[in-house]
């Protein structure tokens, strides 16, 4: 087991999978974005080198979409982490039986299929759906409120897909906190707010940072929520990548958008990492 080759042999299958299915797609994506676009059924013109696609992608329309993608990701991240944290805190104080039940409910959408969740949301939020009928019956609105085909639907849909993960991450981090800390603080006369502020929050900070990071990445890469529940006017870059590749058969442009999305995600992650470090140094 101490032969120097062993760890390399053990890592070989994973390294191979990462190289062929992750690294090479990313490299070919970069190359694809530098091709000239084809006409009609031709996806791209092989052997060409041009920056045309990047020029197209960074026009006013493209930049607005980029801004929307970032805002969308940030919104979904804030929503899922804040509400997920409250849910995890609430979950921690339930009896073990209740906790298992709630965890099962929270995880069920992940084990079912994302599409059935989005299908259910489509039905619930429709103009003539139960939610709108409820609103009208309660005299809260005269006509149907448009919940689908807009930013609201997209955010709600994507959040439903991310919530299970953020709740699980936050909950697992909360359960690693030694309960005697809180008991001791209580014995020393700390109020509920003080106990939360001085013990629970700092000790669950790594979980919050991780959940926020993942929610941000997934929110910015959002595809199914905006595609199926969002409007045509505000689309995220992921939706646009799919549209360019499949509806317009313009692979170089789709690839350039994907590269742009990757760079944006990396930039946002760097900014987020810096903000988290500053925050944790302060507390």
């Amino acid at each position: 087991m101490n032969r120097p080759l062993t760890p390399y042999l053990l890592s070989l299958p994973a390294a191979g999978l990462l190289l062929t299915m992750l690294a090479s797609p990313l490299l070919l994506l970069l190359r694809m974005s530098l091709h000239r676009g084809g006409q009609g059924r031709v996806f791209y013109v092989p052997g060409t080198w041009t920056l045309d696609s990047y020029h197209d992608v960074t026009d006013a329309y493209g930049l607005r979409m980029l801004g929307y993608t970032v805002l969308f990701g940030a919104g979904v991240a804030v929503l899922t982490v804040a509400a997920g944290y409250a849910t995890a805190l609430w979950l921690r104080d339930r009896t073990p039986r209740r906790r298992r039940l709630v965890l099962a409910v929270v995880l069920a959408p992940k084990l079912a299929s994302v599409l059935v969740v989005l299908f259910g949301l489509q039905l619930l939020l429709a103009d003539t759906g139960p939610l709108n009928r409820l609103l009208q019956a309660a005299q809260l609105s005269d006509g149907p409120v448009r919940l689908l085909r807009g930013p609201v639907g997209a955010v709600v849909g994507e959040s439903a897909l991310i919530f299970p993960y953020s709740i699980l991450i936050l909950y697992t981090h909360l359960t690693t906190i030694d309960p005697t800390f809180e008991a001791a603080a209580r014995g020393l006369g700390a109020s509920a707010w003080q106990r939360f502020r001085r013990i629970t929050l700092p000790l669950s900070a790594p979980g919050l940072a991780l959940a926020g990071e993942l929610a941000l990445v997934w929110g910015m890469g959002a595809f199914l929520g905006p595609l199926l529940l969002g409007g045509p006017a505000e689309t995220t870059l992921s939706v646009e990548v799919h549209r360019q590749a499949f509806d317009h058969s313009r692979w170089p442009r789709a690839a350039a958008e994907a590269v742009l999305l990757t760079l944006t995600v990396l930039a946002c992650l760097a900014a987020y990492g810096g903000a988290v470090r500053r925050w944790r140094r302060r507390t």
Partner: protein
């Protein structure tokens, strides 16, 4: 009751209901007797289930999805478990780099991966092959299995392995007799998670879907976008039921064989993997 408790309880309940409601409603609608997308109240019917089971395209997609899921789980186990072992037990050059790289599939946007895979699949001749989709799903399951196995390995006492070696066992014997049996719960959990992940993976599947590779989510997606019908809910119910049965059957047989105590290093109670297994 303090204000904080009221707030967390309200939000917690609201989120739980919000997560449960779409699923329940969709399943309810799947028993509708007509093509209106309203939940049945008096007359329930299995009409859409019959429609699903008699449509060759849907059943073929279901079977294909199960096969792809099993292969993807195997690929993820074959790649992820040895890697977790190498990183937990060895110090070598590039260790940190690969430990970081293995988590990347979790955070690369699916549209980016899907778009990049189009030329890869065309170049390698995997285009239109279910194996291509299985490989990608294996990649997506890799970090999950790796994390689960790694956590378990950290809980396994390395002295057990050292003792076996001290008693004259070869490295291979140690791995086969000590490490792998102790790792078995992690491997089963991880494989089940990777299988479930593949079965429900919609985004990359969508980019790679051709008539010969389309799985249920890829097929359901088109329905959902252009002509929503209860078939989508039916497809999901059937796939969950069949998928859970297959996963349980496989893991059950596998954990039974050799009669190893399954509870060995149960240091991960309450972790995501445990919860996933409970729900499965």
């Amino acid at each position: 009751m303090s204000l904080g408790r009221i707030v967390t309880a309200t939000v917690g309940l609201a989120v739980t209901v919000f997560l449960a409601l779409p699923l329940v409603y969709a399943v309810w609608v799947s028993f509708s007797p007509d093509s209106f997308l309203t939940p049945p109240v008096e007359r329930w019917s299995l009409r859409w289930y019959a429609a699903f089971l008699t449509d060759r395209r849907w059943t073929a997609a279901l079977v294909r999805g199960l096969a792809i899921g099993l292969v993807a789980a195997l690929i993820a186990v074959a790649a992820g478990v040895p890697l977790a072992f190498a990183i937990a037990r060895h110090r070598f050059r590039g260790r940190r780099a690969i430990a970081a790289a293995v988590l990347l599939p979790l955070s690369v946007p699916a549209a980016v991966l899907g778009m990049g895979l189009l030329p890869v699949m065309h170049a390698t001749g995997l285009w239109g092959q279910p194996l291509g989709t299985a490989l990608v799903h294996g990649l997506l399951g890799l970090p999950v299995i790796y994390l689960i196995a790694r956590r378990h390995l950290d809980g396994v006492n390395p002295h057990l392995e050292a003792a076996a070696r001290g008693l004259g066992a070869t490295p291979w014997q140690t791995a086969r007799r000590i490490t792998l049996p102790l790792l078995r719960p992690a491997v089963t959990t991880g494989a089940a998670a990777a299988f479930a992940l593949s079965l429900n993976e919609a985004m990359v599947s969508l980019f790679l879907a051709t008539p010969t590779t389309e799985t249920l989510p890829a097929l359901a997606w088109a329905q959902l976008r252009y002509s929503p019908s209860p078939l989508v809910a039916v497809a999901s119910c059937v796939s969950v039921a069949v998928g859970a049965t297959v996963a349980l059957a496989v893991t059950h047989r596998w954990t039974r064989r050799n009669g190893v105590e399954r509870t060995a290093p149960s240091t991960v109670a309450g972790s995501p993997c445990e919860s996933i297994r409970e729900t499965l």
